[in-house]
Subunit: 83 residues, 2 copies
Protein backbone atom coordinates (compact mmCIF):
# COMPACT_ATOMS: atom_id res chain seq x y z
CA UNK A 1 0.00 0.00 0.00
CA UNK A 2 1.40 3.46 -0.90
CA UNK A 3 1.73 6.27 1.64
CA UNK A 4 -1.00 8.20 -0.19
CA UNK A 5 -3.45 5.27 0.11
CA UNK A 6 -2.49 4.87 3.77
CA UNK A 7 -3.19 8.55 4.52
CA UNK A 8 -6.40 8.64 2.50
CA UNK A 9 -7.54 5.48 4.25
CA UNK A 10 -6.77 6.76 7.72
CA UNK A 11 -8.56 10.08 7.25
CA UNK A 12 -11.36 10.46 9.77
CA UNK A 13 -14.75 9.99 8.11
CA UNK A 14 -15.75 13.38 9.64
CA UNK A 15 -13.19 15.04 7.39
CA UNK A 16 -15.83 15.30 4.71
CA UNK A 17 -15.91 19.08 4.62
CA UNK A 18 -13.25 19.96 2.00
CA UNK A 19 -10.78 22.08 3.94
CA UNK A 20 -7.19 22.94 3.18
CA UNK A 21 -5.07 20.81 5.49
CA UNK A 22 -1.47 19.77 5.61
CA UNK A 23 -0.01 16.70 7.32
CA UNK A 24 3.73 16.67 8.02
CA UNK A 25 5.31 13.38 9.10
CA UNK A 26 8.93 13.08 10.19
CA UNK A 27 10.21 9.56 10.70
CA UNK A 28 13.72 9.37 12.12
CA UNK A 29 15.68 6.15 12.43
CA UNK A 30 18.57 6.93 14.72
CA UNK A 31 21.82 5.10 15.13
CA UNK A 32 22.48 4.05 18.73
CA UNK A 33 22.97 7.17 20.89
CA UNK A 34 22.56 9.55 17.92
CA UNK A 35 21.25 13.07 18.71
CA UNK A 36 17.48 13.66 18.83
CA UNK A 37 16.70 16.27 16.15
CA UNK A 38 12.93 16.08 15.99
CA UNK A 39 11.83 18.51 18.73
CA UNK A 40 14.01 21.36 17.42
CA UNK A 41 13.32 20.42 13.80
CA UNK A 42 9.58 20.52 14.47
CA UNK A 43 9.66 24.17 15.52
CA UNK A 44 11.78 25.27 12.56
CA UNK A 45 9.69 23.35 10.02
CA UNK A 46 6.54 24.96 11.38
CA UNK A 47 8.16 28.38 10.96
CA UNK A 48 8.82 27.57 7.29
CA UNK A 49 5.28 26.29 6.75
CA UNK A 50 3.88 29.45 8.36
CA UNK A 51 5.53 31.43 5.52
CA UNK A 52 3.20 29.70 3.06
CA UNK A 53 0.02 29.35 5.01
CA UNK A 54 -1.42 31.15 8.05
CA UNK A 55 -0.65 28.66 10.82
CA UNK A 56 -2.73 28.98 13.99
CA UNK A 57 -1.06 27.12 16.87
CA UNK A 58 -4.56 26.08 18.07
CA UNK A 59 -5.13 24.32 14.73
CA UNK A 60 -2.06 22.10 14.91
CA UNK A 61 -2.27 18.60 16.29
CA UNK A 62 1.14 17.18 17.21
CA UNK A 63 1.70 13.48 17.95
CA UNK A 64 4.95 11.57 18.57
CA UNK A 65 5.49 7.82 18.55
CA UNK A 66 8.64 5.90 19.49
CA UNK A 67 9.61 2.27 18.99
CA UNK A 68 13.20 1.29 19.67
CA UNK A 69 15.54 3.50 17.56
CA UNK A 70 12.61 4.71 15.49
CA UNK A 71 10.53 7.82 16.19
CA UNK A 72 7.74 9.40 14.19
CA UNK A 73 6.52 12.96 14.62
CA UNK A 74 3.18 13.83 13.01
CA UNK A 75 1.86 17.38 12.62
CA UNK A 76 -1.71 17.84 11.41
CA UNK A 77 -2.34 21.44 10.37
CA UNK A 78 -5.82 22.68 9.55
CA UNK A 79 -5.86 25.95 7.62
CA UNK A 80 -8.16 28.72 8.80
CA UNK A 81 -11.19 29.31 6.54
CA UNK A 82 -10.13 31.60 3.71
CA UNK A 83 -13.72 32.60 2.76
CA UNK B 1 -2.54 0.77 11.98
CA UNK B 2 -0.47 3.72 13.21
CA UNK B 3 1.81 5.74 10.93
CA UNK B 4 4.81 4.33 12.79
CA UNK B 5 3.71 0.75 12.14
CA UNK B 6 3.01 1.62 8.49
CA UNK B 7 6.52 3.08 8.01
CA UNK B 8 8.24 0.27 9.90
CA UNK B 9 6.28 -2.24 7.85
CA UNK B 10 7.11 -0.61 4.52
CA UNK B 11 10.83 -0.38 5.19
CA UNK B 12 12.77 -2.31 2.59
CA UNK B 13 14.17 -5.53 4.06
CA UNK B 14 17.61 -4.39 2.74
CA UNK B 15 17.48 -1.53 5.24
CA UNK B 16 19.04 -3.86 7.82
CA UNK B 17 22.24 -1.87 8.22
CA UNK B 18 21.44 0.59 11.04
CA UNK B 19 21.96 3.96 9.38
CA UNK B 20 20.68 7.36 10.36
CA UNK B 21 17.85 8.16 8.00
CA UNK B 22 15.03 10.65 7.95
CA UNK B 23 11.74 10.36 6.08
CA UNK B 24 9.71 13.54 5.53
CA UNK B 25 6.15 13.18 4.27
CA UNK B 26 3.98 16.15 3.31
CA UNK B 27 0.36 15.36 2.58
CA UNK B 28 -1.64 18.32 1.29
CA UNK B 29 -5.39 18.26 0.81
CA UNK B 30 -6.21 21.30 -1.27
CA UNK B 31 -9.47 23.08 -1.68
CA UNK B 32 -10.54 23.36 -5.33
CA UNK B 33 -8.11 25.64 -7.20
CA UNK B 34 -6.02 26.35 -4.07
CA UNK B 35 -2.32 27.19 -4.63
CA UNK B 36 0.23 24.37 -4.85
CA UNK B 37 2.72 24.88 -1.99
CA UNK B 38 4.58 21.61 -2.03
CA UNK B 39 7.34 22.21 -4.60
CA UNK B 40 8.49 25.46 -2.97
CA UNK B 41 7.92 24.07 0.52
CA UNK B 42 10.07 21.04 -0.30
CA UNK B 43 13.14 23.16 -1.04
CA UNK B 44 12.77 25.29 2.10
CA UNK B 45 12.17 22.29 4.37
CA UNK B 46 15.32 20.63 3.01
CA UNK B 47 17.27 23.78 3.78
CA UNK B 48 16.06 23.61 7.40
CA UNK B 49 16.89 19.91 7.68
CA UNK B 50 20.36 20.57 6.26
CA UNK B 51 21.03 22.79 9.32
CA UNK B 52 20.72 19.70 11.53
CA UNK B 53 22.24 16.99 9.41
CA UNK B 54 24.66 17.02 6.48
CA UNK B 55 22.28 16.53 3.53
CA UNK B 56 23.82 15.23 0.32
CA UNK B 57 21.46 15.87 -2.62
CA UNK B 58 22.54 12.48 -4.05
CA UNK B 59 21.24 10.76 -0.92
CA UNK B 60 17.72 12.16 -1.13
CA UNK B 61 14.96 10.23 -2.82
CA UNK B 62 11.95 12.40 -3.69
CA UNK B 63 8.59 10.94 -4.70
CA UNK B 64 5.25 12.68 -5.33
CA UNK B 65 1.81 11.10 -5.60
CA UNK B 66 -1.47 12.80 -6.55
CA UNK B 67 -5.06 11.62 -6.32
CA UNK B 68 -7.82 14.16 -6.88
CA UNK B 69 -7.32 17.13 -4.53
CA UNK B 70 -4.79 15.16 -2.49
CA UNK B 71 -1.03 15.15 -3.03
CA UNK B 72 1.72 13.49 -1.02
CA UNK B 73 5.39 14.44 -1.22
CA UNK B 74 7.85 11.96 0.30
CA UNK B 75 11.53 12.73 0.93
CA UNK B 76 13.80 9.88 2.02
CA UNK B 77 17.12 11.20 3.32
CA UNK B 78 20.01 8.87 4.08
CA UNK B 79 22.69 10.46 6.26
CA UNK B 80 26.32 10.11 5.21
CA UNK B 81 28.38 7.72 7.38
CA UNK B 82 29.57 9.60 10.45
CA UNK B 83 32.32 7.07 11.37
Amino acid sequence: MSILDYILGSRKKTANVAKDRLKLILAHEREEGGPDYLPALQEELLTVIAKYIPVDKNNIKVSMERKGDFEVLELNILFPDQH
